[in-house]
Point group: C2
Chain length 296, copies 2
């Protein structure tokens, strides 16, 4: 078996080939928005969410063809949230990953519409699963999860509270809510959709949810820790920005030691639940460990 890094790089490439099949051809009167969508989708994400869909589907022995439309869908939903987050009335970011943000390149109106379009195209992509599946009710359930975890009881719910509390101290319960939903919900959706499409049972799905939520929280807290302990060279972005912006984080609320303990607790629990399953996917386990223990 090739080492994890080689396998990861292969599977990211494979994921990008799959996503590309769902991107629009840039022609027609509405060409500008098609360009804006492709620009955002090709801006160099880690493709983490589609990877989690694929690997959790693989874990339970599911049919890859059912998962592919949802891999594209998850990446589109994630990208749409970045586009709208960058808008002047939100975070007002002109750059993302060293490139102009979508609205800065195509105009604010196109930024709004490109984000809208990617949400809709996510569901359009996912609906193509009905053309190939032998399990329409599973696909229906995956659809429900995609919508629920994206919407007001998922990612968007988290964004709302985050936006409302900008430049304000955030109490612990609301910070938990934001962390759980803003990042956690899409990670949960990705793993849960992979599991549901593969026909995992209720108990297995509950375990997958818990793993994903733990990973999401640990990922977020690790982010807070790195902002304090890392260097700009390693992280690729300025450190200490949370303190400078008076931002409430897990570290400012609980201290660095408690934050580290919490990451460890969440990770250990996630891996122990993963090991309690009757099925095994070595690569998925490595992927989860990478997410939690990352140094950048």
């Amino acid at each position: 078996m090739p080492d994890f890094k080689t396998l990861l790089s292969e599977r990211v490439k494979e994921t990008e080939r799959i996503i590309a099949e769902y991107l629009p051809v840039e022609e027609g009167h509405q060409k500008t928005i098609l360009e804006a969508m492709n620009y955002s989708m090709n801006a160099g994400g880690k493709r983490l969410r589609p990877l989690l869909v694929m690997e959790t589907c693989r874990l339970f022995g599911g049919d890859r063809k059912d998962a592919e439309p949802f891999m594209a869908a998850m990446e589109m939903i994630h990208t749409s949230s970045l586009i709208h987050d960058d808008l002047p009335c939100m975070d007002n970011d002109q750059y993302r990953r060293g490139k102009k943000s979508t609205w800065a390149k195509y105009g604010e109106d196109m930024g709004v519409l490109a984000g809208d379009a990617l949400i809709v195209e996510a569901f359009a992509a996912a609906s193509r699963a009905f053309e190939v599946t032998k399990h329409p009710y599973r696909v229906g359930e995956a659809f429900r999860i995609l919508a629920e975890k994206t919407g007001i009881y998922g990612m968007i719910g988290g964004q709302v509270v985050d936006v409302e509390l900008t430049n304000q101290p955030i109490p612990k319960d609301k910070l938990d809510f934001i962390y759980r939903l803003k990042t956690g919900a899409l990670l949960e959706a990705s793993m849960l959709i992979g599991a549901v499409l593969a026909g995992a049972g209720q108990q297995e799905c509950a375990k997958i949810s818990q793993i994903a939520l733990n990973v999401g929280l640990a990922f977020q807290i690790q982010d807070d820790i790195l902002d304090v302990t890392s260097s700009q060279e390693v992280l690729g972005k300025p450190v200490g920005s949370d303190e400078k912006n008076c931002k409430t984080t897990y570290v400012t609320l609980e201290g660095i030691e408690k934050a580290r303990e919490e990451v460890k607790r969440l990770s250990d629990e996630a891996l122990s639940i993963l090991h309690s399953l009757d099925v095994k996917n070595e690569f998925l386990e490595q992927l989860i460990i990478m997410l939690i223990t990352r140094e950048k």
Copy 2:
């Protein structure tokens, strides 16, 4: 049989009861956005699109329970487009139907997020059809239509071209594109979804699409005519605004006589296709006639 107006008012009320079942309860940390969504959904629309879903489903003898989730979904998609259209970076409208627009009441960031949330909740609502249906592949096809006609090859595609050509003369082919997609696509989706859920065949669906597109175009051109020929009292909004804003419309491009002829041609054709079907829904026919011949 009660007269059309009585029946219409009853069915609009029924539609509003159905939609209400899919609206969020205003509680939790993310309460602001739930309020903003309900505010926009209850701002007094005509409920035209859900009515078309229900009545086309009835035309083909479909199961109402399958249609209800899509009735809510269509109204949510329509409302989301109004919220985002009103944003400062789009039409910059502070009022809609005599009430503050969503962003003017809840802030621009919440305006963006409330529109996003309604798109997502539309698909969440629609996914509830899987819990009740005996025909999951039909529901899957309805999902595909909802996404396709909302997205870049539907409503959003039309918005993009409309936004790009603001304050510019619009050539005929692009005006047709905007009219066909910006309004037409959602009317088409509504009728088509009703038909598909009821198990209508391919030929019947093709006819339904043609009827809906004709109605959409006629509706739009009638709008242009009324802006020239009506009075503020009848229309409830200022007339002559298209000329004042140097807006290209069907009337400015083709003249009022040709516009009237086109409305008549499109309407006659739509009704003649409707009559060519083996099934009948008197109320749907009246509804279509009302849409086309409206004086406000």
